[in-house]
Amino acid sequence: MTEPQSIKPVKPVLTAGDATAFAGRDRARNQWLDVWAQFRTHKGAMFGLFFLTFITLFVTVGPLIWNVDPGKLDIRNKDVRPIYIALVYSDAKVNWANPMGTDNLGRDIMANIMQGGRISLAVGWTAMILAVFLGTLIGVLAGYFRRLDGLLMRFTDLVLSLPLLPLLLVMMLLFRDPLRAAFGPEQGIFILIVLGIGITSWMQTARIVRGDVMALKEREFVLAARSIGTPPHRMITRHLLPNVLSPIMVSATLGLATAIITESALSFLGLGFPSDFPTWGKILFDSVDRMTSFPERVVWPGLAISLTVLSVNFIGDGLRDALDPRIRGQ
């Protein structure tokens, strides 16, 4: 039983070679403008983009405005609560000079969260770029060159069956001292964490890219390109990579989210950066012992991590929809 109201006038279907097909469009449409238009319809993704921009500005431009040294000890002003606590408890120790309060050594928490965010985001982006680079390289090589396929994919499967978090912990603990000696305490740990996360999270990207490259290889445009004598390296950079860009971008957002979480988890387990060197995970870890009296010190860095990861995940969701030509434009 079909309701008569539900019948809509059917649009005339365009046939091949119809000259009026593009008559309504007066200018060529840029593909990336289409992607952006689709991306904007995703509310979560727009929130994610907004928040990621905000938090990036907060940690990069913020320290220029809020010009307080995050490591400066001020014992007289220790354990200051955030100012909003004064609304509830009028006798709480608050101070306009430290709007988010200070820790048990009198270090300003807002300055620490800015500095910690710089490190966390820097680790996240660098590790993600490394993982995506490795994943794309291995995926393209395995998908394009049949001789390498078996070997590289067996290797990927092997790495996937390693217990990664324990191995990452082992790497952190055992290679910490030599790298610190070689590059200095901060630089050394940074390199170690980025390398550790990078080489333990490329596998999914590699699998996706390999699958897509193998499917693309059978298409006519690749055959056409090969028939005019395109060498393999140009084949990859010119014809294959642009076509696997969208899955790479989506897995890059996922990679950024996991990298930020992994770095915080390492810091939380006490195996990340040294203690005088704040990251969001480290601030959270240092505050856990005193969270009964000062819950806000746990909540702010935790919220920063969670909201950043949430917004990155939403951006990934929006990108997946926006980059899929079957969904775009509907």
Partner: protein, 335 residues
């Protein structure tokens, strides 16, 4: 199917050997020294003797086969001896922890129940919550329930366990004082009150781990249900006049469970990884905490054994997932 399973089992042996080798060499190449925590006043020759007493005097190509022998032959022998009162092991050298000087497997056996209680329970709870959410979300796609489910699973993906756990402690233990923040593993359940206490102390760690599971499994369940709801056989079933509950719960659900079951099997090892962090938050003295303590004390045999056991778990779960897929879906035949 049986030949396939046997072939996969045989193939997993070289994989596991390779993984053991990778872990062993990582620990071997690493410059961390198990003697680093000893007092500096120990003379170098005594230090050398202590190293040899720990079995570190030999080169790696002697110690690696020794470790394999201990792990795959001696330890199962002890296990059989304990179970049946036989004497296969005959006093052979077991894998000894550097820190506690007791056999590694004894320590693991002490710690395993705590981890299994929390981890296994959370996985079961997580899956049990996830399945109905996934089914309803798919059946009522784009409804308020579906939007809420999507949002909650997004939060489950994004909020790391070390924040959700700490947040729960702040809310329920510090502010409301409803639940204990520390998991008491010495607690013995023998009557109703102690059972209630056990439940109360398990709620938070279980829910923290279950949130991660729920987020993942409910997404897969929803996607799989959506795939199947659009199929022709669903229309046929409806056209035959079957009731909606039979169509959804019998036809669609059974077919949708096939990929979800494998996802559930594949997720088991990662939940053990997540337990490392959760145990640290709630002070559960399980395997994860044991690993962290062993790492900090450069207890190489302990780290090696726990990490390798996790690798065995991953490889076995991959195998089980593949075999289950073949059993549940008759269209898939590996031969």
């Amino acid at each position: 199917m049986l030949t396939y399973t046997l072939r996969r089992l045989l193939m997993s042996i070289p994989t596991l050997l390779f993984i053991a080798f990778v872990i062993f060499m990582l620990l071997e190449l690493a410059p961390g020294d198990p003697m680093a925590n000893m007092p500096l006043s120990i003379p170098p020759e005594v230090r050398q003797q202590m190293r040899e007493a720990l079995g570190l005097g030999e080169p790696w190509y002697v110690r690696f086969p020794l470790w394999l022998n201990q792990f795959f032959i001696v330890e199962p022998q002890y296990w059989i001896d304990n179970a049946f009162g036989t004497n296969f092991a005959d006093g052979a050298q077991r894998i000894i922890s550097f820190q506690s000087r007791s056999p590694v497997f004894d320590v693991i056996a002490q710690r395993l129940p705590q981890t299994l209680w929390v981890v296994a329970m959370s996985y079961v709870v997580g899956v049990l919550i996830a399945l109905p959410i996934g089914i309803i979300s798919a059946y009522r796609q784009y409804s308020v329930f579906d939007q809420a489910g999507t949002f909650i699973s997004m939060i489950g993906f994004s909020v790391p366990p070390f924040f959700s756990g700490v947040l729960l402690i702040v809310i329920f233990s510090v502010q409301l004082r409803w639940l204990p923040s520390i998991y008491d593993t010495t607690h013995v359940v023998n009557d109703w009150d102690s059972f209630v206490f056990q439940l109360r102390q398990m709620i938070m760690p279980v829910m923290v781990l279950a949130l991660q599971t729920t987020a993942q499994v409910s997404r897969y369940m929803r996607a799989s249900m959506l795939d199947n709801l659009g199929m022709d056989y669903v229309r046929t079933a409806r056209a035959k006049g079957m009731s909606e509950s039979v169509v959804v719960m019998k036809h669609v659900l059974r077919n949708s469970m096939i990929p979800v079951v494998t996802v559930i099997a594949l997720g088991v090892p990662s939940i053990f990884g997540g337990a490392i962090i959760t145990e640290q938050i709630f002070k559960v003295n399980g395997l994860g905490q044991l690993l962290i303590i062993a790492l900090q004390g450069s207890d190489i045999p302990m780290v090696m054994t726990i990490t390798f056991l996790l690798a065995v778990l991953i490889v076995m779960m991959n195998l089980i997932a593949d075999v289950l897929y073949g059993i549940l879906d008759p269209r898939i035949r590996y031969d």
